[in-house]
Subunit: 353 residues, 2 copies
Amino acid sequence: MKKTTTPLSELGEFGLIERIAAQFQPQRSETVLGIGDDAAIVEAAGNELLISTDMLVEGIHFDLTYTPLQHLGYKAAVVNFSDIAAMGGEVHQLLVSMALSNRFGLEAVDALYEGMAKACDRYGVDLIGGDTTSSKTGLVLCPTVMGRSASGGAIRRSGARPRQLIVVTGDLGGAYIGLQVLEREKIAYTGNEGAQPDLSPYAYAVGRLLKPEARFDVIEWLREQGIVPTAMIDLSDGLSSDLIHLCRSSRVGCRIYEERLPIAEEVYAGCEEFRLNATTVALNGGEDYELLFTVDVAHYDVLKQSALVTLIGETTEWEEGMHLIANTQEVIPLKAQGWNPLLDAESVNTEDE
Amino acid sequence: MKKTTTPLSELGEFGLIERIAAQFQPQRSETVLGIGDDAAIVEAAGNELLISTDMLVEGIHFDLTYTPLQHLGYKAAVVNFSDIAAMGGEVHQLLVSMALSNRFGLEAVDALYEGMAKACDRYGVDLIGGDTTSSKTGLVLCPTVMGRSASGGAIRRSGARPRQLIVVTGDLGGAYIGLQVLEREKIAYTGNEGAQPDLSPYAYAVGRLLKPEARFDVIEWLREQGIVPTAMIDLSDGLSSDLIHLCRSSRVGCRIYEERLPIAEEVYAGCEEFRLNATTVALNGGEDYELLFTVDVAHYDVLKQSALVTLIGETTEWEEGMHLIANTQEVIPLKAQGWNPLLDAESVNTEDE
């Protein structure tokens, strides 16, 4: 530890993942897909098993001053389920490891598991294992989720081709505005112990942050419509970052249109109040857990008519790069400015502005 | 957090696990075995998949003053592999999530992954995913391991019947003595920065702690001999604790003999130096990652002749309880005094004495 140290933030999460992936090329025949997608794929007697894990660390991913433990348990499960949705699969089992400092008692653990039980119940998932241990400081949750791919196989990030439609589910930036609201109330609360925050004007945005859902409803609807996305990813880091990952994995470029970004009224209102640019929030706000996918143009009409999804652009040749077409017709290169879990929480909170 | 809090240590890890297991009864037909064994079992087209996860937390499970990061990476992988060995299975894939504070740079991450790569290489395992994120303090590793059971099915903790042999692989207490040696050197080192500890008299014990192995060699040997254990568990908490888990799961009693406990010379020497009772260390020292299993008496001769295993006792009726027969012929009830990950590290370090 006393030798030279290169800060991890220099590489960024995806630089680090690429570095690790290069070291660990799968050797076993049953390992269908290793590091680098929403979930890994393992073959078992003709079935494609999906497996994924995401860690949630106190002070980095959540702040317990405004995160009820039940919600946290629910969210920890759901954000992992979302990785299976992003492969177009079904989610079946969950394992949860957790480390808790001694400020957490049995009541806290019960609340966490209650939230996880709610999520498991809602999504039809079995909690089948895990590990509970102590930590010196704070709470760390590490769920691992297992599922199966749909009959046509898992939908990877790498399947997009030029001249396909880029589609997003739901709306964008809600969780980020929810975070701003709660951070503000936290500051207000710190100065005034008796204050009861009134979050009602931002109930939707706060709900987006504290209680996200995995979009299996969209996966099912797509199946009913006979639509198979060519590539898919879930929006955890922010549209811009995650679209860049998808495009890089597929070696395609993209063009998305500012005027088409789906943004809820409350997000516009929040942006006004917090003096944020709504497009920036929609592009870079993380944790919405919507799905982003590409699909053949043949499905244009069906997708165009659905309230579940929004067509936001199209893929292009790789050489054309990745761009946002602004309302002014200006062509702006997309940047990965979303959530970087390898920076400190403090710097993360300011970096999206 | 301001309400009543019941310390988790009151329930203990296994009380907590039972409480959680009661809340999460498997609903899905493919979930063969949920919470409560070394690994969970999931069915996939006739195959039994094994999956398990174990968390390693800085300051609780390891101390970086004397744990090289490469060794830590190796151990984090291997202790998870050991859970698959304890089901009599084959280990195939690994996912590793980690949270690191900013005192860890790229070099540290590289060392950790180097260790994991070594373990994966040695055990023929593919690293297929994970998550890397930051933490406010310290290092948390959360590996998840996947494998398959052998053709006869997984060996659970619950299959032991009365009047079977109790067998242990390797020898006991080495890792605990290794820990004492390193803790002593740490204290010595703290007062004298230039001192180079001489660990050579305890090379074996220190190696047991820092670089454990999963006993797939024994699994293979048993298969060659046509011996199928009726129940099995790996020794992470200590012989006494883990034997109690196995017996409780199987609803059998047990009788083990002090004179038969396999203890290495170095462990005896260490016990003398640290004024510890060797039997106590063999019973309660954790982290040896040997296998403990029960087997039909028909296999007595083959097992008796093998240097890989030691017959330490036999199962009895549940009502007879669990006992150690001391060299003095005294009958001593077994107690779970091993590692309790829900107590603080400080109290753990003293509780085994």
